[in-house]
Subunit: 142 residues, 2 copies
């Protein structure tokens, strides 16, 4: 669409306070020792008319994908330990969210630290992560 | 609680790109000559857990009210020609929205200019405003 949209860090923080989601999926996965895979992801969903914003976020963070979500919605989604711990999390450590979504972000961050220590591969650690994930995902928007 | 939340202009712009709404109500009103009152309003709705953000917006703009909306939702709402044309509109003229909500903002602004010229008091003007309002309110969130 012609002009590149450049984003400001504070604009991103405000937009994510409204539209972002920090989510930890815990999915059955037969090849994992405990039978489950822990999958943290950061997503921003928008109506397709604003897909340009999602591409601008992807360019800003230098990671993630923009894909079709449901119906006329598109999603910017970041998965992968390296992307989350080296790009997404440091950004929101520096530019603090102002909404209560910040509590979800802190839980999200705790899960990634626990995974770094391999705690998701132990029964107790997985139970702790599940508890954190339940607390976070409860308020999942829409 | 306690600490006052200070907002940054770019943060507000990002947050309103996600959560704000520029709306023009056209309501039956027997005391108006044409039988209708044109009521432009700027609103931001949040879950009550984030009511602090709404109060911070009210403080930042120096106008509007924070009220209960539906269920567990609260709304920051600005009405009144002076508030809109002297505080809200100049802010978003200076700090441009990045989402397609900017198109609604431009229509909203046109309606306030038309009202300044008294066009909402003529049949033709009211019809024009109604058309603009229909275009804007179509994409009204939630």
């Amino acid at each position: 669409m012609g002009l590149i949209m450049n984003l400001d860090a504070q604009w991103i923080t405000g937009f994510v306070d409204g539209e972002g989601c920090f989510y930890v999926g815990i999915n059955p996965h037969p090849e994992m020792k405990l039978g489950f895979q822990v999958l943290p992801e950061f997503t921003v969903v928008q109506h397709e008319r604003d897909v340009q914003i999602l591409h601008a976020l992807k360019r800003y963070f230098g990671c993630g994908v923009v894909r079709k979500n449901h119906g006329d919605r598109m999603a910017y989604r970041v998965r992968g330990h390296g992307n989350l711990t080296e790009r997404i999390i440091p950004f929101f450590m520096k530019h603090k969210l102002k909404s209560k979504k910040r509590i979800d972000f802190e839980r999200f961050r705790r899960v990634t630290i626990m995974m770094e220590r391999g705690m998701h591969l132990t029964e107790d650690g997985l139970a702790d992560i599940r508890r954190l994930a339940d607390e976070m995902n409860r308020g999942r928007p829409r």
